[in-house]
Symmetry: C2
Subunit: 246 residues, 2 copies
Amino acid sequence: MKRVMLTVAYDGTAYSGYQMQENAPTIEGELNRCLKDLLKEDIRVIGGSRTDAGVHALCNVAVFDTCARMPGEKMSYAMNQRLPEDIRIRKAQEVAQGFHPRRCDSRKTYLYRIVNSAFPIPTKRLYSHFTYVPLDAGRMQEAAAFFVGEHDFKSFCSAGSQVESTVRRIHSLEVTREGEEITICVAGNGFLYHMVRIIAGTLMEVGRGVREPAHMAEILEAKDRRAAGPTAPACGLCLADYKFLS
Amino acid sequence: MKRVMLTVAYDGTAYSGYQMQENAPTIEGELNRCLKDLLKEDIRVIGGSRTDAGVHALCNVAVFDTCARMPGEKMSYAMNQRLPEDIRIRKAQEVAQGFHPRRCDSRKTYLYRIVNSAFPIPTKRLYSHFTYVPLDAGRMQEAAAFFVGEHDFKSFCSAGSQVESTVRRIHSLEVTREGEEITICVAGNGFLYHMVRIIAGTLMEVGRGVREPAHMAEILEAKDRRAAGPTAPACGLCLADYKFLS
């Protein structure tokens, strides 16, 4: 018996999210189906980040146990021949038996992409959120600074999550504009349900001038979802990096 | 009667190219259908660059004549409400009656994008060509320099084109790598049938070491399509800029 960790990239457009659901296409469902086909074992992968419907990833992770003789390192090639083209295994490696991705210290980096121009760009429409309302990326960056560090992010967590603590640490949060595109890049040790999308939705309100950057401190203080801005659409979000620290 | 010029962006994935065809979805077909619906006139647009099936554009152009009272400048909004989401009018403007996009001096810029990593990136698969064979962008840039200037590009033109002259001027041709992505950016006064894709296919052969950069001079000299490399796949190509000089 060995434990294998997969590094998985996907285009989330066609999926009802990462986590397994009956009667809906999911990333986990595709991985389980593929591994059963390849290894002839009934495998249920353990997911890393359980991304929402429509969210993309460059490097999510999944682990599973197998008795197969095939070396873990060879599995990426074999899996990619069996997966749909919107899911790709970038790496497969054997890890310690007790390794569990959600019980490890980790650092995740998410990108939230916004196209901010008079009209949408068709080739970007599946991987960014479009708004024609002019956004001031400088103001957004000013507001972003309030989130860096350890805070209770209860105001930035949608109902339906069952976590014990809503305290998280954000290592960095940068807002940059390049032409018509604004990118929010946030790295942290963990994120609550919808947290990045609510931060993005709130920063966009700052960017168009309906909230002040300094107001972010009050929103954090409120510990109330209603104090923050709307949840930004899923298609703009991409899990871009995922590192285990221990 | 007035002549209106549209600046059109599209995701070419679902289309059999720019130019009107019976029984196949085309960009021109969608524009004609949309204008008929909007203006109640039988309009046939005149296209700028007739991109191939699967090729994308940020700013192709199309012109048409209309007796409609609606100011040209207002048409982009009205058209975008009627077009599928993979086609967007970025600008509509009235132009001189005699203006014909293919009979004007112009400068077009194309991007050819390559993902060069061990495995494809799902979120880039529709807008880039993937190859796992390592490419040396420095060698590709060295080869690219041979194309700059005025040359007979007959070796870089597919059969089926009916142009009088195969001489074209390339203003610039730059190959850059950023991580796993290589971009070929080429600007010129006009391009022959498949010319950018054959240049890209030839540069990739240089990048993987099967041709020498200096060999480009011989290929140009040969004036024979068989001397050049293969035509690179359509999905990597995007018409990125289109300017009229006169």
